[in-house]
């Protein structure tokens, strides 16, 4: 009984960490670019994930996660930096007064015809990569302890619980003005992109997964510094203005 509980709690907590990363990106992209393409991308990601898990089964642990982390991380990093840069420029230009604006005061970025492929790709990649990591955790813990069923319950429960929390937070997040949201999501994508791409190259982060918080703090300070510099330039306080 103790072993079952140990496997359940361990797989739940380890999977929850990955699920938080997945839900953060899906939530941020959905709130910034619109929900339709984001949800389609996330569902497509879950579909591909289900096929991989069914086909690979217990051999899943032999799938090379390093190259996948590098490719997904590098793409998130270069795209995240674009939003980071635009977010700094927009917040520097408009300030944080938009906090009090209703969400309808600012139109969504995507207004073109058809599916927003940017939102689709971002949500899809986050779900496939993080979902695969949850699957690795489940297979590793489950197979090593002969408690695969319990490990599956722990992993699925983590994704469901974190997903439900994300659904509740969605209403709050969509009330944030888009320029500020773009900055926040840009910082998050840059953070995860940096972390995953370097992990994919074989880097061992100081403090392990805790390095994500360190990177996040570093990029938040960077954003604050550049917003101050840009704001001074906009207001004509610097020689470069």
């Amino acid at each position: 009984m103790t072993a079952v509980l140990f496997v359940l709690v361990t797989t739940f907590l380890a999977s929850a960490v990955e699920a938080i990363e997945m839900v953060t990106i899906v939530l941020g992209v959905g709130a910034t670019r619109g929900w339709r393409a984001t949800i389609v991308g996330a569902l497509a990601g879950f579909g591909v994930l289900a096929v991989i898990v069914v086909v690979a089964g217990l051999a899943l642990s032999r799938v090379p996660i390093g190259p996948l982390r590098l490719i997904v991380g590098a793409l998130l990093l270069v795209f995240g930096l674009q939003w980071f840069r635009k977010g700094v420029m927009r917040v520097a230009a408009h300030g944080l007064a938009g906090f009090r604006l209703a969400p309808t005061d600012e139109p969504l970025e995507w207004t073109g015809p058809g599916l927003d492929w940017t939102a689709f790709v971002l949500a899809f990649k986050a779900v496939v990569l993080e979902g695969l990591e949850v699957a690795f955790i489940v297979v590793s813990f489950g197979a090593n302890t002969n408690q695969l069923g319990v490990a599956v319950i722990g992993g699925v429960a983590a994704v469901v619980v974190i997903g439900a929390i994300g659904l509740i937070l969605q209403r709050v997040v969509t009330r944030i003005p888009r320029s500020l949201l773009q900055l926040v999501v840009g910082i998050l994508l840059t953070t995860f992109g940096t972390f995953w791409s370097l992990e994919g190259l074989g880097i061992e982060w100081p403090a392990g997964d805790g390095a994500i918080l360190g990177l996040l703090a570093l990029y938040l300070v960077t954003a604050g510094t550049y917003i101050t510099i840009e704001r001074r330039r906009v207001l004509g306080f610097s020689p470069g203005a």
């Binding site: 270069v78 930096l81 980071f84 840069r85 791409s197 470069g240």
Partner: protein, 69 residues
């Protein structure tokens, strides 16, 4: 045939916009940072700081260029 070419062109434009965006130098610098890190890792040096330093520096340079134009 024209439809296939327009689809290929659209696909190329999407990925160009996704990866390069408004400032190609940022994407190029990130690529250089990742290559440098890979070289350090192959020499058993845990150079985790290279990419964050490049990210912060390039962001500043890109913002400065954008504000001048």
């Amino acid at each position: 045939m024209g439809l296939i070419w327009s689809w290929i062109a659209g696909f190329g434009r999407f990925w160009y916009s996704f990866i390069i965006g408004d400032d190609w130098t940022v994407a190029a610098a990130v690529a250089v940072g990742l290559i440098l890190t890979a070289l350090f890792v192959s020499a058993h040096v845990n150079a985790w700081w290279i990419v964050p330093v490049i990210v912060i520096s390039m962001l500043g340079l890109s913002l400065r260029r954008a504000s001048k134009t």
